[in-house]
């Protein structure tokens, strides 16, 4: 049986909160460069150049890539042969977020109540924590710093089976087109299809937390991911919504079985900074 100490979890989360905010992943930086090669709009090219210059500066000076250092989303996959020792896992994750956001000069962007008492909690906690039990003895944390510009432009619909692929396609395109400049394009598009009302939003978020450029294991969905990416890039939204060919950098779909009468779909948008990091024990 593998033992994971909560102190290790706290430290991993502390480090990830800072790292994802300062350093861009290589595959994403490559995607920026490819986008710059393909973009035809002059303003779009200027913006993509600024995005590249910004991530280089952020890494050099350990400055946050974006001032919206996000709400912290922590996805924990725990093998059923793993034992957590030393205390409460959720508390350890929140201590890691609190330390990381304070020590890393990151913005604290969480209020304690959504409606009546919007007071900043002062340390970016609580994190949004999702725990899943998986086979074996892996222990994996995927950390995402999620800004709200793109989160607010995300949409969910309870389609019916007759809507089919066309219904999904139209909903995705409408969501991205109507979001326009607001989610900081070029965006990354996470799509959840199936499950129920509650699960489909999480599927879309999981799609965003999956490796950049990875394809769905089912070839039908893998093909749909690429087709949607191509169509989204024909919408004309472009970098920062000022017009252009590069509206999205990647589209990823996660799916689940669903009711005979249902076809839930959720589209979770992420900005070009797309800050995700992984720690595994």
């Amino acid at each position: 049986m593998k033992i994971v100490r909560v102190e290790e979890v706290e430290e991993a989360v502390r480090r990830l909160s800072m790292e994802v905010n300062y350093y861009i992943r290589d595959e994403l930086k490559d995607a920026y460069k490819k986008a710059l090669e393909r973009e035809v709009s002059e303003t779009g090219r200027e913006i993509l150049s600024q995005i590249i210059e910004n991530v280089e500066l952020a890494a050099k000076e350990q400055l946050p890539i974006c001032q919206d250092t996000g709400v912290s989303i922590v996805y924990v996959e725990i093998g059923q042969d793993v034992k957590i020792e030393g205390g409460n896992l959720y508390d350890a994750i929140n201590r890691g977020v609190s330390k990381g956001y304070k020590e890393g000069y990151l913005r604290k962007s969480v209020v304690k109540d959504p409606l009546f008492n919007r007071v900043n909690t002062g340390d970016n906690t609580p994190a949004m924590i999702h725990v899943e039990v998986v086979p074996g003895d892996i222990f994996k944390i995927t950390f995402m710093a999620k800004g709200t510009g793109a989160e607010n432009m995300s949409r969910l619909a309870m389609l019916t089976p007759a809507a089919g692929v066309k219904g999904i396609r139209d909903f995705v395109l409408k969501t991205v087109a109507e979001a326009g400049p607001n989610p900081c394009p070029p965006v990354v598009v996470g799509i959840g299809i199936g499950g129920t009302f509650d699960t489909v939003g999480w599927l879309a978020k999981k799609a965003l937390m999956r490796k950049f450029g990875s394809r769905h294991p089912d070839p039908n969905y893998a093909k749909l991911e690429l087709e949607l990416l191509d169509e989204i890039n024909k919408l004309g939204v472009g970098p920062q919504g000022l017009g252009g060919r590069i509206t999205a950098l990647d589209v990823r779909i996660e799916t689940a079985p669903c009711h005979i009468g249902a076809l839930p779909v959720a589209v979770n948008l992420d900005c070009h900074a797309h800050r995700v990091g992984v720690w595994e024990k």
Partner: protein
Amino acid sequence: MIKRITPPLDDKVLEDLRIGDKVLITGKIYSARDAAHKRFVETINKGGQLPIDLRGQIIYYVGPTPPKPGYVIGSAGPTTSIRMDSYMEPMLKAGLKATIGKGYRSWGVVDLFKKYRAVYFIATGGVGALISKKIKNAKIVAYEDLGPEAVMELEVQDFPVIVANDIHGGDIFEEGVKKYQEITLPFKIERISEV
């Protein structure tokens, strides 16, 4: 051509700005976002005195990260402007002449810019580290308790923006998308509205 402006802005300067213009701002601007706008408008509605005189001024929708030691400000890019749309009319009535943010404004607000002769600038979203280098000084002038949402006076130099809405009713986003759209959609693209 790049235009250079310094607040307070007068009618002559605003008249001359057109959508798509690249503009460099030098001088003092103010930061304010959701929570500060709520307080501004509550104060205006109660007939109270605002902590800053908005006449001719520019508000930058930003909530920066805390400055590291030796820095005047942290990362400081624009936030999504549409969330401030429902507060816009009282702010414009109080004399505000320009806002800086990212993303489009509700069509109702685009009309207000024309009515009150104010412009909307955009800065590049998600490049907060780069933009922070254009801010030479920052001090809190109101609502310190709001933390990252406090109102700050920012001294900027050659702060780069693009005119997104001018006083003549133009809208940069609509024109840009039209130019590059290569797909026929079976639905109408509606702009989200907050007013």
